[in-house]
């Protein structure tokens, strides 16, 4: 069954092919709203399976099962593989994480294929666009899951417990890089009863760290970049930071790192030496795995034990909580779709600040645009 049904704009939801990707770009709740807006949603059979969302939940919501690739708009989570791009008809539109900064190949292939691509990574971080900000929504999931992962890997309790068999001291948790994921990690660890400390190069984060009940680790290095992100550090700054962090890290039971600089390799914050000085049984969770990792000993995608310290560097934590991660993602996609569609028809206004930033390839390139 193809999607040429009536005159309605069709939205295709493929089943994700990337290994370990359990998310799906739309969830039944959002499908229902899109259908109510007159869109025709085509879901690939089994698209929600990894997220434990059965196909009939989608059909009950108004979608039908079929080939998603021939739809007017295809919505995805992970960046499309070459094979997937090949399935996209020329002139079609693709929404999803497209890795514009980290994997330029995708952009090149999409341009070649004549597909208009909207990259969710590129949504500007302005107040109005927050509902489309999938980086935030997924980082939030990642921060929460990182703490669960750390607590699971840890050989010790997070909370303090005074019991008949002795008193267990609370775990101390350090979060390096306190963006969205880091804040959520701090808050979650605090909830579980740990003592929490946060560190970031941007000084305004200190108040935010305190606002989730954590302590601020002040190392005296500041590096504010553009658009609310951090900048890369200079050589001396990095040396200084590394040395001071080195000293601080060994006192913690759990270190969660989330430090990223957009488009750059992740800063190396936890050297091997610091790991060696940690107590046996401690845990490091490195969320910067996809950008190379913040810890020298991280092996992105794997969990290793070095010197009795467990180092986990999961590549795609949000995918481990697929239903809610998908739900939040789907809402971001919905918000962006609503901007792209006018009266149910594809009519992106490329002068809009958000779309201008988000659109990375155009089937009919407008003036002065890539």
């Amino acid at each position: 069954m193809t999607s040429q049904e009536a005159q309605r704009t069709s939205v295709g939801v493929p089943r994700e092919s990337t290994p370990g990707e359990r998310r799906v770009a739309l969830v039944p709740g959002v499908v229902e709203r899109l259908c109510a807006q007159g869109l025709d949603v085509v879901v690939e059979p089994g698209a929600g399976q990894a997220a434990l969302i059965p196909d009939d939940a989608f059909t009950k919501a108004g979608a039908h099962l079929g080939d998603p690739w021939s739809a007017d708009v295809v919505v995805k989570v992970a960046p499309p593989s070459a094979a997937e791009i090949a399935k996209l008809p020329r002139g079609s539109t693709l929404l999803g994480f497209l890795a514009p900064l980290t994997d330029p190949d995708v952009v090149a292939r999409l341009r070649e294929a004549g597909v208009t691509g909207f990259a969710l990574e590129s949504v500007p971080r302005i107040s109005r666009a927050q509902s489309m900000d999938a980086l935030s929504s997924q980082a939030n999931v990642a921060g929460y899951r990182a703490v669960l992962l750390a607590a699971t890997e840890c050989t010790r309790f997070f909370p303090m417990l005074t019991t008949a068999a002795g008193t267990v001291k609370p775990a101390s948790v350090l979060v390096l890089g306190v963006g969205v994921a880091g804040l959520q990690a701090l808050a979650t660890a605090k909830r579980l009863g740990a003592r929490t400390t946060g560190y970031d190069v941007r000084p305004e984060v200190a108040d935010q760290v305190r606002s989730v009940g954590a302590k601020w680790l002040d190392l005296g290095v500041s590096a504010v970049g553009e658009g609310g992100y951090a900048r890369e550090l200079t050589e001396e700054e990095r040396a200084e930071q590394t040395q001071r962090l080195n000293a601080a890290i060994s006192g913690f039971d759990v270190v969660i790192t989330t430090a990223l600089v957009p488009g750059r390799p992740a800063p190396r914050l936890v050297p091997a030496e610091a790991v060696r000085r940690m107590r046996p049984g401690s845990v490091i969770v490195d969320l910067a795995g996809s950008a190379g990792g913040n810890c020298e000993l991280s092996e992105p995608g794997r969990t290793v034990v070095e010197d009795e310290v467990t180092i986990a560097a999961p590549l795609n934590l949000p995918a481990t909580m697929p239903e809610h991660a998908s739900e939040l993602y789907a809402r971001n996609v919905q918000a962006l779709l609503e901007l792209v569609l006018v009266d149910g028809r594809l009519a992106p206004d490329f002068s809009d600040e958000v779309l201008a930033a988000t659109c990375i390839t155009r089937s009919d390139p407008g003036e002065g645009h890539p």
Binding site: S127, R128, V180, A187, D207, V212, G213
Partner: protein
């Protein structure tokens, strides 16, 4: 007869005191006022029992005319015009004292054969009464905007002028006290004191007028007590002194609540520098005390709490929940309006409010609660800013234009708790704060909420 009258006087002032006690608490205030009024009726009846009272016709005429003027005036005045009405009533009270003193002088020029305290008390009453009358009229004019609200002064001459007028009035009074029976002197006393009242109040800014009225009120009380002393009338002594004492404490509290001090306000009247109330940046901002917030919340039917990043920074969540519980216990409906991007991370408010054990049922999403604001008595904004900024709705040039916001500005009253007038994350000013129905309670959110809790408990 004299004994019954005296006993009734004692009853009357007992009622005044009891009524006044009632007036200081929100629960008992209405009844307190009624009791005090009853006391007044007793006092009037007792006075009419005075043996040998004459001029009944005129007395009745005065009472009737006064009533006929007073009732509609009090009934028809708009709620917003209440302060000027009080100023006016206070003024006529002072005027009555001054006039009575004048008549007393006319009846016994030079106070022949009276002990020394009679002329002293009478002249004191005349001076203060006249100041109060004319000062109150000026205050009325300013509040009613018949006179301009800004300070009207004669510059550096203000101080010598005021002093001259007052010294003149006192000097004339002294001459009378020493035995003179020239009526012109008494008229001079009244006129000079009246001019002094005018000259002192005119240079004070409109914002300070409520405090000035309260001060004049205490003065009138003192003058009534003095008149009572002169007439040896217990009811007048007690009632007058009661008002003088409680009125001065009240004035002090009012001034404090407005971050002003009585001396600096009066200094303004004498041409001092601290003349005008401090101007807060960007439009008139109404700041209130925790006690007021508590009363507004306690007597509301429905309150919506709007938490923001400031609540998180202050870690005020526990205090906020304490407050909400007290309100719920009083039968006030409480809900929390959680804006999707309040705070600095997704779910920031949830984490904190869960920590404070706020029942999930009380947390409302924006879409769910936005229509409720219009039906809400008080929206209590705790350290939130951008998420309540109406510019997102109506100012296309604002960087937050287009962001959905909480309809806080549609609530009947808005109370904002934050430390200053500073902007939030987006760095833009918030017109909500200068909205006339918004009141600001400045200070760290946790301390502010704690104070409110304390006040709620005391209600």
């Amino acid at each position: 007869m004299i004994t019954l009258r005296s006993v009734l006087y004692i009853l009357a002032f007992a009622l005044f005191i009891y009524g006044l006690m009632g007036l200081t608490g929100p629960r008992t205030a209405v009844r307190g006022n009624a009791i005090a009024a009853a006391g007044m009726a007793v006092a009037v009846v007792a006075t009419l029992l005075t043996p040998g009272l004459g001029n009944w016709g005129l007395i009745a005429l005065g009472l009737v005319v006064g009533t006929v003027i007073g009732i509609p005036a009090a009934r028809q005045v708009k709620m917003t015009a209440m302060p000027q009405m009080v100023a006016l009533f206070n003024g006529v009270g002072g005027g009555a004292v001054a006039l009575t003193a004048w008549v007393e002088f006319r009846e016994n020029p030079g106070f022949q054969g009276e002990p020394a305290f009679v002329p002293i008390a009478t002249l004191f009453a005349a001076i203060i009464g006249s100041i109060s009358f004319w000062g109150s009229l000026v205050a009325f004019g300013k509040l009613q905007e018949i006179l301009p609200g800004r300070p009207i002064a004669v510059g550096r001459l203000q101080l010598p002028l005021n002093v001259l007028l007052l010294v003149g009035a006192v000097a004339c009074a002294v001459v009378i006290g020493l035995g003179s029976d020239v009526e012109l002197l008494l008229v001079a006393v009244l006129v000079l004191a009246g001019l002094a009242g005018i000259a002192v109040v005119l240079p004070i800014g409109g914002a300070d007028m409520p405090v000035v009225v309260s001060l004049l009120n205490a003065f009138t009380g003192l003058s009534a007590a003095a008149a009572g002393l002169a007439l040896s009338n217990t009811a007048m002594i007690v009632a007058g002194m009661l008002v003088g004492a409680s009125g001065s404490i009240l004035t002090d509290q009012m001034a404090k609540a407005m971050n002003r001090s009585i001396p600096s306000i009066i200094a303004g009247g004498f041409g001092g520098t601290a003349a005008a109330a401090p101007v807060t940046s960007g439009g008139p901002v109404r700041s209130v005390s925790a006690a007021d917030v508590a009363i507004q919340l306690a007597y509301a039917g429905q309150v919506i709490v709007v938490p923001g990043y400031g609540m998180a920074v202050a870690q005020a969540q526990h205090a906020v929940q304490d407050m909400a519980k007290l309100l719920v216990d009083r039968g006030v409906g409480v809900a929390y309006a959680i804006h999707p991007v309040a705070g600095r991370m997704p779910g920031h408010m949830n984490v904190l409010l869960a920590e404070a054990d706020v029942p999930y049922e009380q947390l409302k999403e924006m879409d769910e609660i936005n229509d409720e604001f219009a039906r809400t008595d008080v929206a209590l904004v705790i350290g939130a800013n951008d998420v309540t900024n109406p510019a997102a709705r109506n100012d296309p040039s604002s960087p937050i234009y287009g962001m959905p916001i909480l309809n806080v500005d549609q609530a009947r009253t808005v109370i904002v708790l934050k430390r200053s007038m500073r902007a939030g994350f987006a760095g833009v000013d918030n017109a909500l704060y200068t909205d006339p129905k918004t009141a600001m309670l400045f200070g760290d959110a946790k301390s502010s909420v704690r104070e409110i809790v304390e006040e709620l408990k005391a209600l």
